[in-house]
């Protein structure tokens, strides 16, 4: 476990940069983590992030996000290139996903 200051807030993060406590998350933190991942967040990103935060406990999969009605799977990959489920989870301030699908 490590300490990291993101958007002026001192936070506990895992070794690969996921927030330890999802309740400490806010949109400014999301923007800063996204910037580290090379992503400029748009409203569409935030819609997806909202879905991800709301469904964090239910075992998220790429398939579920694809069926959310917010974005299809192709669009999800375009929004968060290079590993959409992991990267969006990190930006959304939830735990690292454990799904294989």
């Amino acid at each position: 476990m490590a300490q990291k200051t993101i958007a002026g807030v001192n936070l506990e993060v895992t070794e690969d940069g996921y927030l330890e406590d999802p309740t400490k998350w806010n949109e400014e933190i999301a923007k800063e983590i996204a910037k580290e991942e090379g992503i400029e967040l748009t409203d569409k990103h935030f819609e997806v992030i909202k879905f991800i935060r709301e469904n964090a406990e239910s075992g998220l999969t790429i398939r579920k996000v694809g069926k959310s009605g917010i974005v299809d799977i192709k669009g999800f990959y375009e929004l968060f290139p290079g590993g959409p489920l992991k990267i969006s989870s990190k930006i959304a301030g939830i735990k690292k996903p454990t799904s294989c699908v």
Partner: protein, 167 residues
């Protein structure tokens, strides 16, 4: 925590030569898992593996109920080989397995191919096997980019951090 100094896998080239549910899904899960992690994935279907990308068969794959030592009855008792030989049993068992997989959010084959290609994964059919089974391009799923030789597949499987996997 894994050592970071290892060369990371950046690309997987997966070859699937069998039509059983478990062999095809092993290939699909590995391919999808790769694109999910931001890696490149290419899958080459050959011999009976072609069933997985043939429109007529792709969503009706079976698992063997005869000659499959891993097959068990619900509850864990051994699955009698003679029972597995009764017509319809293999279809029933396979359909049960597909249903259980769906509950774990493992999609049917065509939807799985949608997911893999949406993530940039590429699907190929083996020319030799396509000729042998007298298939045409239109018999194959639209996910298939091209019908190619194994040599052509190897030609695109190279590069640093690339791996070839055979199921």
């Amino acid at each position: 925590m894994a050592e970071k100094k290892d060369t990371q896998v950046k690309k997987v080239a997966i070859i699937c030569a069998k039509a059983s549910l478990e062999d095809v899904y092993a290939a699909l899960v590995m391919a999808n898992g790769a694109v999910m992690e931001g890696m490149e994935a290419k899958v080459f279907f050959t011999f009976f593996g072609l069933d997985a990308i043939t429109k007529k068969h792709m969503n009706k794959l079976h698992t063997a109920t005869v000659g499959n030592p891993g097959m068990r009855m619900p509850g864990g008792l051994p699955f009698p080989t003679l029972l597995g030989a009764i017509p319809g049993v293999e279809a029933g068992v396979s359909s049960m397995m597909r249903k259980q997989m769906d509950q774990l959010d493992i999609p049917p084959v065509d939807e799985f191919l949608d997911m893999i290609t949406a993530g940039g994964g590429e699907i190929f059919a083996c020319k030799l096997a396509v000729d042998m089974f007298k298939l045409k391009k239109e018999d194959l799923s639209d996910h298939v980019i091209d019908i190619i030789t194994i040599g052509e597949f190897y030609a695109m499987a190279g590069g640093e951090g690339s791996q070839i996997i055979f199921t």
